[in-house]
Symmetry: C2
Subunit: 363 residues, 2 copies
């Protein structure tokens, strides 16, 4: 079991990672967060049958009358109507400002439950209990949100949790697709900040169905540490934090155009990263063995072609222009001068059209 | 024209008060807030015909393509569906993180537009342009919210504006009912913090249809100063800020039970203050000339009877128990030991029932 400390300008909190670390949750709440009027678990219909009883069993000796809200799975949790329903559940159950939300699930549940926590009675406390590898990214940093049909994560806030409990045992039952989704963010963290971590992954992770507990804890803590270093410098995404967007400008646009849930977040980001790496080589002089990268990620099972998606390039560009980080007519990409050395670069619509057409022809 | 400075832990900003102070708005934005990608005015259907052109005229020489969203009047602006519609308007118009919202209207528009600003792309900047006397209270302090059918202001955030421009000329066209609504909050500020301001009001304000510009600017800046002092110490309402809730525990409950819009906020708060003053005399030994107070506020046109409302006392208590400041089975009231010296006191359901029945018999 490993403990990291996340520091932001608004809050400092622990992230606990490891097999069975959830057994320490009740103690943490008892010792660190009292008074607690009531516990409110928000989880989704996929996670509830697997882990809800486990979590409730840990807490029921100490906390009576736990409220549970079960929301739809995946991005379907992040709608206005689910958000409203959560508030209704909370109000009906007399959840108040001294109550504590537990966000039990993947990134989508974390985003939704975190946004409910950010806005319920103008903000109550929450703890993240991620159940996917992907959530190693979203569970840290305090970005919470729901989606709008015109764009992902468009309505949200910055609201830091009181703690994150990352029980790695939860991850072993994930389907391989979910491993791929999460591992893409770990690769992103390595590429933008830590070349040696990237090399380590190339050598030590050749398939995703046999990562042992030690390797997994290492990947998660390393990824979270990198993210925490960035977030510490820029909690509210006014500057350096945007480097975390590497691969996401195109990635989000693909997710948005396919319809949420048709492709996993990490798989879309992987396509976005490959595109950003190509652009980095062409525009920023990045020295990088792209062939080795492609071979490696294909071996891990990533699908790099998006022609199958039947997405019109123009539509991709339109939704990139709606990205939260876009503030003019040009679209900002995070690129790499070197591994570990990200920069941002703006592209006009024409340049993008040209580069994307080249990309599509190849994949 | 007077300028106050509001300090909170998250932001420091100016409040400009006076006849025609709006003429300085465009300069302020140009000099203090650039870069601005676009201006987005959110106003309501009652305010738009009166002041929208004026505000647009000030800005159009400097900012092209101003987006305007007109929402329903009063508390009808503070619904989930209006909130969602605002986000849709913003996204369709490519409002981005460098855009600026102007909240033009009364307290309800300020609450809604502020909450849109707090959550649009995880938070963008806004300026408050209050058009009612009541908004002297809500425009300062950063509390923004929408309503839930189970309670007022239940979904919201703390999000401070970049500035507040309080053009007192806007106020002269208000109906007397709105003057009463706003003046109740000014009386509240005096009672909780400043006995001499209260005495000044008793002597200088004997009717609400003839307050001149100097008196008005004095009342507004005094009220805002008192509020700012409290907010400075406790931005997120974890302690002393709750004294601003004087008169509001019962007041909100009356609004909630009558249905929003059936009674103005300030008129409901006045009933709540009278109740709190009676409790203060009975339970905290407050020395206060309640008869003089009653005579004065009746002369100003306040309706103090709530029997006409046909509200069941039990329902009032139920919704007080749902108040955001309530964290147990008891209901917390802000009372006064002396004028300017507030304290909080908890009451059981039985005690409340008894006190409210006494109150109802009298009024």
């Amino acid at each position: 079991m490993k403990e990291l400390t996340i520091q932001t300008s608004s809050k400092t909190y622990p992230v606990i990672v490891g097999d069975d670390c959830l057994t320490t949750l009740a103690d943490f709440i008892q010792n660190q967060l009292q008074p607690i009027s009531r516990i409110w678990i928000i989880t989704d219909k996929n996670v509830a049958p697997l882990y809800l009883e486990n979590v409730k069993n840990q807490l029921e000796p100490y906390f009576s009358n736990i409220l549970v809200t079960v929301v739809p799975g995946g991005e379907h949790a992040k709608t206005f109507s689910v958000f409203e329903q959560c508030h209704e559940d909370g109000l009906k159950a007399n959840i108040n400002r001294k109550s504590l939300i537990l966000a039990l699930g993947g990134g989508a549940v974390g985003d939704l439950a975190g946004f409910v926590a950010a806005t319920y009675m103008r903000g109550i406390r929450f703890i993240g209990i991620p159940t996917t590898l992907l959530a190693h990214d979203s569970a840290v940093g305090g970005k919470v949100a729901i989606n709008h049909k015109l764009g992902k994560n468009m309505i949200g806030a910055f609201h830091q949790p009181e703690a994150v409990f990352y029980d790695t045992k939860f991850l072993y039952s994930l389907p391989e697709k979910e491993w791929r989704s999460g591992f893409a963010e770990a690769i992103k963290h390595a590429l933008i900040q830590d070349g040696s971590f990237y090399e380590w992954m190339l050598e030590n992770v050749t398939r995703l169905d046999n990562i042992n507990s030690d390797k997994l804890t290492y990947i998660i803590t390393k990824g979270i540490s990198i993210k925490a270093t960035v977030v510490k410098q820029d909690e509210r995404e006014t500057g350096i934090r945007e480097i975390l967007n590497f691969g996401h400008t195109l990635g989000h646009s693909i997710e948005n155009n396919l319809g949420y849930g048709k492709i996993t977040h990490g798989e879309a980001v992987m396509i976005g990263m490959l595109f950003a790496l190509k652009l980095s080589i062409e525009k920023c002089g990045l020295t990088f063995d792209l062939n080795r990268f492609e071979t490696w990620v294909k071996q891990l099972g990533y699908e790099l072609s998006i022609s199958r998606c039947n997405i019109q390039i123009q539509k991709l560009i339109e939704s990139m222009k709606k990205d939260k980080k876009t503030t003019g007519k040009e679209v900002t990409f995070v690129l790499l001068k070197q591994i570990g050395e990200p920069i941002t670069m703006k592209f006009s619509e024409e340049e993008l059209l040209h580069s994307l057409m080249n990309y599509f022809e190849q994949f």
